[in-house]
Symmetry: C2
Subunit: 203 residues, 2 copies
């Protein structure tokens, strides 16, 4: 079993943190997105959508999409539970995971991809107005998240979950995307200090 | 238990088809997005992101995000399995569900939201160049899907799953988005004829 990734990209980082929290060790193989390694035909055989990370099982089966790979490992090794416990807990965790992915990580990524000069070749066409339109969405979501985190320690509830991983990776990705963290968000700041000091954060 | 939705929107339709396939009957309550019902404060208490559908449990707990609601019902009533069987099957189904959502339904929705005059007030700002940039993504994904479906009956494998639901809803949403289906895609056409003739398609 191995994971093919570019360790600098945010989605591979989500998976590495997830596996570190579970204490699962696995072989990693690097490819270089900036050298267009993911555009090569041999990689398309593993993921026709040409994204990283990809998990390759011993029989050659390839699974892509970070959250799908996380679920595979959650099923193989349920403890510690990172995707919720019980039908309602798992639904709530998935709800928050998706909110963090679609309404925080995704708009941060769109700001980066459509405004950063380094993405000129990888994101075609770059639409600057779309990049700009995503900036306030990020800040709105962080304001909402600050309010939510005033009621509970972690994004989806009382326990650290995949929703915290996605949210932390999104917040860190704001730096290359050149989006400033909002001031006066004490609950968000308390949560960020807590999750970013876990050993898994540097995985 | 009840589901709050606007029956005309694509995400509520995903959930209705999912529940119809499971034979689960549930109360629906309509709100009108075009009248901005989802912007009212009482709805924000159920979903601060103000999207439909929302599942409201008998104790008042609200779960939003279509796929999270689907997972809740998949856990309550596992048969027929619509999210895969076994760790590898569930990972593969989630991978294809996500591919269909993020690379087919989402770009169709972006084309609609950023180019359709009816969305002028709901999507602010409308960025026409971003709408146009999504059109070829839809067609590329359908070409890839046609190729995949030449190897198996359904999107994620031998069985009908949530990935087929998301893909069918996306294909149908191309009509209001004014994107033409590609010609010469026999496997896609065969699959579409099969899934759209299931009784659940009209749920």
């Amino acid at each position: 079993m191995k994971i093919i990734e570019d360790a600098r990209a945010p989605n591979p980082r989500r998976l590495r943190i997830f596996l570190a929290e579970k204490g699962i060790k696995i072989e990693y193989e690097q490819l270089d997105i900036t050298e267009f390694d993911h555009k090569k035909p041999e990689f398309a055989e593993l993921n026709p959508l040409r994204r990283v990370p990809v998990l390759v099982l011993d029989d050659g089966t390839a699974i892509s999409e970070s959250v799908a790979i996380c679920r595979y490992f959650e099923e193989l090794q349920p403890e510690p539970a990172l995707m919720g416990v019980g039908p309602e807990g798992r639904a709530r965790t998935e709800m928050w995971q998706r909110r963090m992915e679609l309404n925080l990580l995704y708009p941060v990524a769109q700001t980066f991809r459509h405004l950063h000069p380094a993405m000129k070749e990888l994101e075609q066409p770059q639409v600057a107005a779309w990049g700009e339109a995503n900036r306030p969405r990020v800040l709105n979501m962080l304001t909402l998240l600050d309010d939510e985190l005033s009621h509970r320690p972690f994004v989806a509830g009382e326990e650290f979950t995949i929703a915290d991983i996605t949210a932390m990776v999104a917040v860190d990705f704001m730096k290359p995307a050149k989006i400033e963290r909002p001031g006066n968000s004490p609950s968000l700041d308390r949560w960020y200090a807590s999750v970013s000091s876990r050993p898994s954060a540097t995985a």
